[in-house]
């Protein structure tokens, strides 16, 4: 679904997102509003392909022992588990990389890479896996049948299946469905303009400033400028998925 057209499904999705936004508004104090976005869209406006939201992560700035982004994400989105990492949902996880030759150690946060050509969307039999016009890859948990084919298809292991009954609910979550990083879509859809996702906000607050969020289509956004200046790599670039999440200094 590359274009968003008027259809009942889309209306439904939008109203779901609008609800999420309202809940988010009630539960969260407002974060930083991104200046780079000229126009905020109202909650009932569809996502536009004029934007492409993405993340840039600097592996050198990511602190080895830090887990702040993970905690912030899971708190923000009400992602809870029972303490078994193998079955608990992990919307974002820290990955420690040790170069086999140089022994250099780096850590990076890994989450849904919001591919332009998402394999999860390609294989989903029900439309539940979808990509918004602005590049955000989401799961509609009301349509997901829990077949887990998207998890088989994802090259990043970025998706989680809800293995246990969900108790605490900030956003609708459903046992037996699949979920993953939404790029804090409720913050993107904030009526007052897009805000940084919880992970980026927390990383900044912690002083590491290893992550940037922004519009990859906006030539004036910081993320675009940084990418232009320093470049950025995609994980598994060989697959040609054109990810919305890019990494710097990953070497």
């Amino acid at each position: 679904m590359s274009q968003v057209k008027e259809s009942k499904v889309d209306q439904y999705r939008r109203s779901f997102l609008a609800q999420s936004t309202a809940i988010a508004g009630m539960t969260l104090t407002s974060g930083v509003i991104l200046n780079s976005v000229a126009q905020a869209k109202s909650a009932d406006q569809p996502a536009s392909d004029k934007n492409r939201w993405g993340l840039l992560i600097d592996a050198n700035k990511c602190s080895t022992g830090c887990n702040t982004c993970v905690t912030a994400c899971h708190e923000e989105n009400g992602v809870t588990g029972s303490g078994n990492p193998e079955t608990d949902p992990q919307w974002i996880r820290k990955v420690k990389l040790t170069d086999k030759q140089t022994q250099k150690v780096q850590t990076i946060p890994l989450m849904c890479q919001h591919c332009a050509k998402p394999p999860c969307v390609d294989v989903c039999p029900t439309n539940a896996s979808m990509k918004r016009a602005d590049g955000v890859v989401l799961v509609d948990k009301h349509a997901c049948i829990g077949c887990r084919y998207c998890m088989m298809a994802c090259p990043y292991g970025a998706r989680s299946f809800i293995h246990e009954p969900t108790t605490e609910q900030i956003y609708p979550r459903g046992q037996g469905t699949v979920e993953s990083c939404t790029l804090c879509v409720h913050r993107i859809d904030d009526p007052n303009g897009p805000r940084n996702p919880a992970c980026v906000e927390a990383c900044n607050a912690e002083g590491h400033k290893a992550m940037w969020f922004g519009d990859l289509k906006d030539p004036n956004s910081e993320i675009t400028k940084r990418l232009k200046e320093y470049g950025g790599v995609q994980i598994r670039a060989d697959l040609g998925l054109n990810t919305g999440v890019r990494y710097q200094n990953l070497n």
Partner: protein, 411 residues
């Protein structure tokens, strides 16, 4: 050759009721397991976020692949004109449908949210102004292939059972044959589409599944046919059994050939031969054991020896070889499906990768009883339905004695 008389089973003996009761118990246990998985969540299984398809998929995919293979007998008789198999055609058709039903049932019961399946037509057809997405999903095509298979084989069966339509049966049989090839190819493609996973990144996977299906389908067919004839006291002659036996031998040999080619081509790729390939073949783990002992020895070499060793009684040899092919088939699915997931995806070449979900390491998986019971229920459903069909439809020849099946046989 006399005209073959087809009759229903009597289905009134104590043995019959006992069999049905056992099958119902097996299905019931599977259903209870599925209910528990839905109530408590999939964490009661051995599946994780790394091993997302577990034992139920091993059974389900095995059955779905075998289903199309079970239709072979009918195809050989009709498309390829081997009249000796003709009396077995109706059973072959029914069995292919019931095997598919068993496999699909497991697949559906293992879904996290099967109730959402009911919404799919609603959201896809009624509310969506765009071309439905599932037409682009290989899983979606498979739903079409599965339901189409049921309809086509159903019509094929109907045409072959009703005398006035018999003349059309051949045309439908050709269509069904093409469809069954598409179905197995489609099942193979479910894995072929997983570009990120090295284990499945091979074009040969789909045709290999087709060849496997010949062996698995015929094995199940033989395992149903022989006990049915023995228990109902109907005659089953040596000629047919010997034919089936050597046919199974050919299919097993062809499967082995494909496995060798598949693995040799994988060794051409340096990355694969050091990584996933050595892990699955020489990793000294449950997958390499399942490969060498299950798939190759029990599922390949021993059945070949048994079917071609002349001193073993044909019927016994066929039963034994067919049982082994089933074990080998389940082992193959275990290696392909679970082994393929257990090996880490290569996201960061040249790096040692560690994370909370053990990204760089081998994923652990130990199936629980719920998964096994659900998988076995698929076999239960298949057997229950085929026995039921034998009971209400005239699909079984009164006799398959040599004089009845072979016009040239002089007893």
């Amino acid at each position: 050759m006399k005209t073959i008389q087809f009759t229903e089973l009597e289905g009134r003996s104590a043995g019959f009721f006992a069999l049905m009761a056992i099958l119902i118990a097996i299905i019931g246990a599977g259903l209870v397991s599925a209910l528990m998985m839905h109530g408590e969540g999939h964490h009661i299984t051995g599946m994780t976020n790394r091993i997302v398809w577990g034992t139920p998929h091993v059974f389900a995919v095995f059955l779905i692949v075998a289903a199309s293979g079970a239709l072979n007998i009918a195809s050989i008789a009709s498309v390829f004109g081997r009249t000796i198999y003709k009396p077995l055609s109706p059973l072959s058709m029914v069995l292919s449908m019931t095997i598919l039903a068993g496999g699909l049932a497991v697949l559906i019961l293992d879904l996290g949210n099967p109730e959402h399946l009911l919404d799919v037509p609603l959201t896809q057809f009624l509310y969506n102004s765009e071309p439905a997405r599932w037409t682009q999903s290989v899983f979606g095509w498979n739903f079409i292939l599965y339901s189409g298979f049921m309809v086509i084989v159903g019509v094929y069966l109907w045409f072959s059972l009703v005398p006035q339509y018999k003349k059309y049966a051949k045309a439908v049989s050709i269509f069904a044959f093409v469809w069954r090839l598409a179905l197995t190819t489609g099942t193979g493609l479910i894995f072929g589409f997983l570009v990120a996973r090295e284990a499945y990144d091979a074009a040969i996977l789909a045709p290999m599944f087709v060849v496997f299906s010949f062996a698995y389908g015929l094995a199940i067919f033989s395992l149903v046919l022989i006990p049915t004839y023995v228990w109902t006291g109907r005659e089953l002659g040596e000629i047919l059994v010997k034919r089936l036996k050597s046919l199974l031998g050919i299919f097993v040999a062809a499967s082995l050939y494909f496995v060798i080619i598949f693995n040799l081509t994988n060794f051409y790729s340096a990355a694969k031969s050091e990584g996933i390939q050595s892990f699955l073949l020489f990793g000294n783990n449950s997958y390499s054991n399942a490969f060498w002992i299950g798939q190759i020895l029990i599922g390949g070499i021993l059945p070949l020896v048994i079917v071609y060793y002349p001193k073993i009684k044909a019927r016994f040899a066929l039963m034994l070889a067919a049982s082994m092919v089933v074990i080998g088939g389940l082992s193959q699915m275990y290696v392909t499906i679970i082994g393929g997931q257990a090996y880490p995806m290569d996201m960061f070449p040249g790096k040692k990768v560690e994370s909370i979900i053990n990204d760089g390491g081998i994923a652990t998986y130990s199936p629980t009883i719920y998964e096994v019971l659900l998988g076995l229920a698929g076999i239960g459903i298949m057997l229950f339905l085929v026995v039921f069909a034998m009971n209400v439809l005239r699909i079984l020849p009164e006799s398959l004695a040599d004089k009845d099946v072979d016009p040239h046989h002089s007893a």
